[in-house]
């Protein structure tokens, strides 16, 4: 009897210890992050729009830019949220004002942040008298909507050319690329203008390329804080596979160097990211698999392998003195539907976080002549792929494939299917994404799916250190909670604090997450 009692006591003690351990673990995991959610607001349509977030001392701004075919111009909207409570306060329409009759000739080109809510907007307008296309800029405060007068920045001797503009990482230089219209039997050429932060011309250069002019021009321009300009050019010559070249122009020495990114075999760049980090230029491009093609029959009933297949990453670094440091190609296992979501630079590594996602766009209109068509969008995501390159050599250090089995979604901008990523204070990669689970535990089995926000921490060597649902987030997980983690945006406030977003079917809400170090 007494032995039985002692055994029972031990059992109780063990149970109590287990319970304490479980509660202890729960407390640790819950206290590791803290969440605060702001007030919901009606969900704006973000499909095929450029949306970004900036903040100042008091406000968070959601700036959206989308092209309207009916007015041949862009709509620019700035939503303002109080930074304390993340409550939407107002929306400012910063688009070019249209006259009551006809259309405005001033056309928006691009916008860049100068400091906090001070932005610079670029526009072009064709001048009938001078027969020139003039580029203008003006200062706009996106909090008040107040703006300065238009200031001329550059002009082009043609009506049909384009302006491409880039801002340096420190926001004190602008580079303007004048993409001249096609000219038959002439050499391809562009003009580059370097501007200071007050949009005064510092230097300019005409670059003539040793090949014939092409109709469909594709350029990307980058500028450093000291004014070095890198131009990425897509080249499609007759009877040759298309390729990219990098051109580096230093206005101080007026030297132009060329770096060819041409791959000798069938591997071609299909997606890329580039930019200056201090005065060093980094470029990463994903390469197609040699058998990738958009033509021909594909046996793919689920549509999960419909996109471009990639099997390599090209890493290029140009040193501060303009010399090529490395041009390193790394091959990896064939992967379909790769899309670069985020590019992160650590002191020693370059991390490419890719979605394995595909978007199918189908017209809903039966009238093919309809000017503004409506589309249905279907989104799928097979998971994510992480590529980590050595910053000093460009060599692939490790890669990691994360498989998910998320159901496809429709007309929701793929808000729940992507991944958010950042480096924590220990330079570990943190991923936030959704995992759909059936939460119906009733006797009658009916699927009731809810999304669980998952946090996965990956070490600097590619090992998963932890993977757990963020139950403290208060979104998803239970039937009664309509909001789920929106995986489109993550805004870093400081080392450990971020602004993220949750959405239900009709609303968005922003929230703070703070990770305890």
């Amino acid at each position: 009897m007494s032995i039985m009692r002692i055994a029972n006591q031990n059992k109780h003690l063990m149970n109590r210890n287990y319970l304490l351990l479980i509660f202890g673990l729960l407390t640790i995991s819950i206290s590791a992050q803290s969440f605060y959610w702001g007030y919901p607001f009606p969900q704006p349509n973000e499909t095929e729009k450029t949306v970004f977030h900036v903040f100042d001392d008091n406000h968070l701004y959601r700036v959206s830019k989308d092209y309207d075919q009916s007015i041949f111009n862009y709509h620019i909207l700035a939503d303002q949220f109080s930074l304390n409570e993340l409550e939407k306060e107002k929306t400012l329409d910063l688009s070019v004002e249209q006259p009551p009759m006809g259309l405005a000739t001033l056309t928006f080109v691009d916008l860049f942040q100068l400091k906090e809510s001070d932005f610079i907007f670029f526009y072009y307008e064709y001048n009938n008298k001078t027969k020139k296309n003039d580029l203008y800029s003006k200062l706009v405060n996106i909090r008040t909507g107040k703006s300065s007068d238009l200031k001329p920045a550059a002009s082009m001797d043609s009506r049909n050319g384009n302006f491409c503009i880039a801002q340096s990482p420190g926001k004190n230089r602008f580079a303007v690329l004048k993409e001249l219209p096609f000219e038959k039997n002439a050499k391809d050429k562009v003009e580059v203008v370097l501007l200071d932060k007050d949009r005064n011309v510092l230097s300019q250069k005409e670059i003539e390329f040793p090949f014939e002019d092409q109709r469909n021009k594709k350029h990307e321009i980058y500028v450093s804080d000291e004014g070095r300009v890198v131009l990425l050019k897509y080249i499609k010559e007759k009877k040759e596979k298309p390729y990219f070249n990098l051109y580096e122009w230093n206005p101080v020495s007026d030297e132009l160097s060329t770096i060819s990114l041409r791959q000798e075999d069938n591997y071609q760049i299909f997606q890329y990211e580039g930019g200056f980090l201090q005065e060093e230029f980094y470029f990463q491009g994903l390469l197609t698999h040699e058998e990738s093609t958009d033509i021909g029959l594909k046996i793919d009933f689920s549509g999960r392998y419909s996109g471009v297949r990639g099997s390599g990453v090209l890493a290029v670094k140009i040193k501060a003195d303009g010399q090529l440091d490395y041009d390193q190609r790394n091959n990896f296992e064939i992967m379909s539907n790769l899309n670069i979501k985020n590019l992160i630079y650590s002191p020693t590594q370059i991390l490419l976080v890719c979605d394995r996602s595909f978007t199918e766009k189908k017209s809903k209109s039966s009238n093919i002549g309809q000017a503004v068509k409506e589309y249905d969008y279907n989104y799928l995501n097979n998971g994510f792929y992480i590529l980590v390159l050595d910053k000093n050599t460009g060599q692939l250090q490790w890669d990691k494939r994360i498989d998910t089995s998320e159901p496809n979604t429709k007309n929701d901008n793929g808000d729940f299917l992507s991944v958010l990523s950042f480096l924590d204070s220990n330079n570990r990669l943190v991923l936030l994404y959704n995992e759909t689970r059936d939460i119906n535990k009733g006797a009658v089995h009916m699927v009731f799916n809810r999304r669980f926000p998952i946090m996965e921490i990956i070490s600097g060597k590619g090992e998963t250190l932890s993977r757990e649902p963020l139950l403290a987030a208060g979104i998803g997980v239970v039937k009664e909670e309509p909001f789920e983690l929106n995986t489109q945006f993550l805004v870093r406030v400081n080392d450990n604090k971020f602004i993220l977003r949750a959405s239900n079917r009709v609303e968005y809400k922003y929230g703070y997450v703070e990770f305890m170090p």
Binding site: Y39, P40, P42, M446, E480, E481, R505, V506, E507, K509
Partner: protein
Amino acid sequence: MRYIFILLFLPIYSVLSAQNYQIGSFYEGYLIKKDGSRERGYILLTDESKRYEKVTFKKEKKGKNQAFKPKDIAGYKVADQVYHSVSYKDFPFSNTRFLLLEKDGCLKEYSYKFYSDGAWVRHTILQNDEGEAENIDTYLLNFPKKMSNMVRNDKELAQKIQNKEKGYDLLHYLAIIDEYNENCESK
């Protein structure tokens, strides 16, 4: 049995899959109490015939419903719309309603709608920084006098309205509100 469940759940799914606010559903929002503090919770989205007269609130998703009239609280917010409880001069009597805040500032613009003769009619109410509120419909007969009284704290603007300067008439009342608020903020 399985089909009965499917039939039962079909209408629920069809409501959930619609991508608009649903009248008769609760959404996250808050009450504004008379001391200015906020109480966060869930607010029933009602149609235009009810939302100006009363608000139904619950603290938790599964909480108990509480109804509030304009005299009980200072306002509420639901679905990105802020309603303030305002007592205002109307024709022929004064009224107290939850009014939709259209423009915030020293001079506030509110609106409400009511159904009359087969159509929704919109009314605009202005409230100045002294707390005086009036239906702008009552300005039809003597706009310069009434509007200049409403913005009397901005003497220059009030004078322009009284002098019937171009751009300071009833048709441009929105621009007048903007000018008043801009001058008020810059003071």
